[in-house]
Symmetry: C2
Subunit: 148 residues, 2 copies
């Protein structure tokens, strides 16, 4: 098995599809180490370009993705991960899927209802109740593709 990690600078795009519903939840990037981790642990793991380290989806929120199947495309440069969503949703903005908006003319309109309150989920690890909330702020700063 020789995946083409070089084509995209060491990182392959990985589509996450929910098992059962078939819903596309997010897209992340994986290096060889992240893929190895997935196959070992069974939890979706990505490489964060901004933080320059591996991160396990759900490491802050508990909304992990249990991997059920790993597929590869014809060019060996894209992954399709079928996974079970633990918890109400993938997106750090509080939706089931990161693709919660559709294009309508020049506008974006909501394509699904919010699934949870991100302030409660990402604020729950904070040890301080004063404002500003450093735990919440940290989760916010991470941003990106359910990167929490």
């Amino acid at each position: 098995m020789e995946l083409n990690f070089e084509k995209a600078g060491g990182l392959l795009p990985a589509v996450i599809q929910e098992s059962g519903t078939g819903k596309v939840l997010m897209l992340g990037f994986m290096n060889a180490e992240a893929l190895k981790k997935i196959l070992e642990t069974g939890f979706a793991t990505f490489y964060s370009r901004s933080r320059e380290r591996l991160w396990v989806k759900g490491e802050s929120s508990g909304h992990v993705l249990k991997v059920r199947d790993v597929l590869v495309d014809c060019d060996l440069d894209t992954l399709l991960i079928v996974a079970e969503q633990v918890g109400p949703g993938t997106c750090h903005n509080g939706y089931h899927s990161c693709f919660y908006r559709r294009i309508r003319g020049e506008d974006l309109v909501e394509a699904e209802e919010p699934a949870f309150d991100p302030a409660k989920v990402y604020g729950s690890t904070s040890t301080s109740s004063t404002s500003p909330d450093p735990g919440k702020q940290q989760a916010r700063n991470r941003g990106g593709n359910g990167d929490a």
Copy 2:
């Protein structure tokens, strides 16, 4: 609507999901022009990095993708295109989906049956019956993510 085309050098990854079945068919890349074309024509159109031009999926094979919905992720840097697959499949290797193999240990194993004979589909435009078949060769050389 401000998509983040700059993040990935002017190109956004676009996941293609089949309407009805929910099957993930392929992943391609789109620049702003390709997205404009999709919204105008209703047919999935990508930017080919190797050929440095727009290409309409199915322009050789006739296996076009009729776009039914265009969704955007939370970071505005990934597209999810829901489309109707015209013809038996997306993949230039003769499968319904480009993700026709799964990882099993160190190996790749077939995850679905072939849907059509690529030699017949991509060879049918050739004006010569002698070998080598220039039409087929051209289709082969294109390669990549159902790039035909």
